[in-house]
């Protein structure tokens, strides 16, 4: 395998920890030549620590809950994600019935928003004809939600029709397994 950023340098595959699912070197689609953004996201110092941490377990959350995913035209819906304590959010995915919608993720305590303005579904990886790269939008550094903080997912249906709006949060919880 060639060293990212320096094709002339060689990395012995035996030097790579293939057991780390979030190690960018284990996936050719994530190397610095192919996807520099994801490569640096996964090499963020906090992400490095999370990748190697003990007592953490993978967890995903889908927002909103199933019965509230169909949003009427022009409506906004806030969903308080029922996370377990100390949830590390590192990636997102979003989907719907094909029509665009906006979404935002807000910290319940600080009020900090992940995006400076609501994010359109059409700007997510799956909607950019990059489905061969997978649905996950990785964050530049993982976001930790320490109790009593939790994420609030706001979905806004801006279309003229009822629309299924769904945001999936990928992360890990601190859990002594």
């Amino acid at each position: 395998m060639y060293k990212p950023g320096n094709p002339a340098a060689w990395i012995d595959p035996r030097d790579i920890d293939w057991t780390q699912s979030l190690n960018p070197l284990t996936n050719p689609g994530w190397d610095a030549q192919n996807n520099r953004y994801v490569y640096h996201c996964l090499n963020d110092p906090y992400m490095l620590a999370l990748r190697q941490a003990k007592g953490v377990e993978a967890r995903t959350y889908v927002a909103p809950d199933t019965v509230n995913q169909v949003i009427p035209s022009g409506n906004t819906f806030d969903y308080e994600v029922p996370i377990e304590p100390n949830f590390w959010l590192y990636a997102l995915a979003a989907s719907g019935t094909g029509e665009d919608f906006l979404f935002q993720i807000t910290d319940s305590v600080s009020g900090a928003t992940l995006f400076s303005q609501p994010m359109p579904l059409s700007r997510m990886p799956q909607r950019l004809n990059t489905s061969n790269r997978g649905p996950q939008l990785f964050l530049a550094t993982p976001q930790l939600y320490v109790p009593p903080s939790y994420p609030i997912v706001r979905v806004i249906n801006t279309t003229a029709f009822s629309n299924t709006c769904r945001v999936t949060l990928f992360g890990a919880v601190e859990y002594n397994v």
Partner: protein
């Protein structure tokens, strides 16, 4: 990992790690839901799950259990949100380790396509075989 030459570790078990893919296929009828479907893990090796991908003839939702018995998601996830492609699997991290002979990532599946749905899910990762 290169085994240490020290005598202190010579009594430690040694393992061989190799790539492995567990393929799960099923057919769901219209709006059918199934729960806790086993994906049996080989009895001679642990399985470290690093990514999943798959294909289907229609939309469906799924959830699966981690080795601890807890489900990975608070509710079922749309297939296109959790199943990547062979080129770019969706990473499950930190990677769960399913013990040899276990029932593996028990799947909950629900068809939402309204038609017969042929589903293939591939669990990619590393098989760890104890050699001593």
């Amino acid at each position: 990992m290169t085994p240490s030459a020290s005598t202190q570790q010579s009594n430690q078990p040694t393992y061989v790690e190799e790539p492995a893919i567990y393929e799960f296929t099923t057919q769901l009828s219209s709006d059918e839901a199934v729960t806790d479907v086993a994906v049996p893990i080989d009895r001679d090796s642990d399985f470290l799950l690093t990514g999943i991908w798959g294909s289907s003839s229609g939309e469906f939702t799924l959830n699966f259990r981690l080795p601890s018995g807890r489900q990975i998601s608070n509710q079922q996830i749309l297939n296109t949100d959790i199943l990547g492609t062979a080129n770019q699997p969706v990473s499950i991290g930190p990677p769960p380790i399913y013990r040899a002979g276990s029932v593996g990532p028990q799947l909950d599946l629900t068809d939402i396509s309204g038609a017969t749905n042929n589903i293939t899910i591939l669990f990619g990762g590393i098989r760890r075989i104890r050699t001593t």
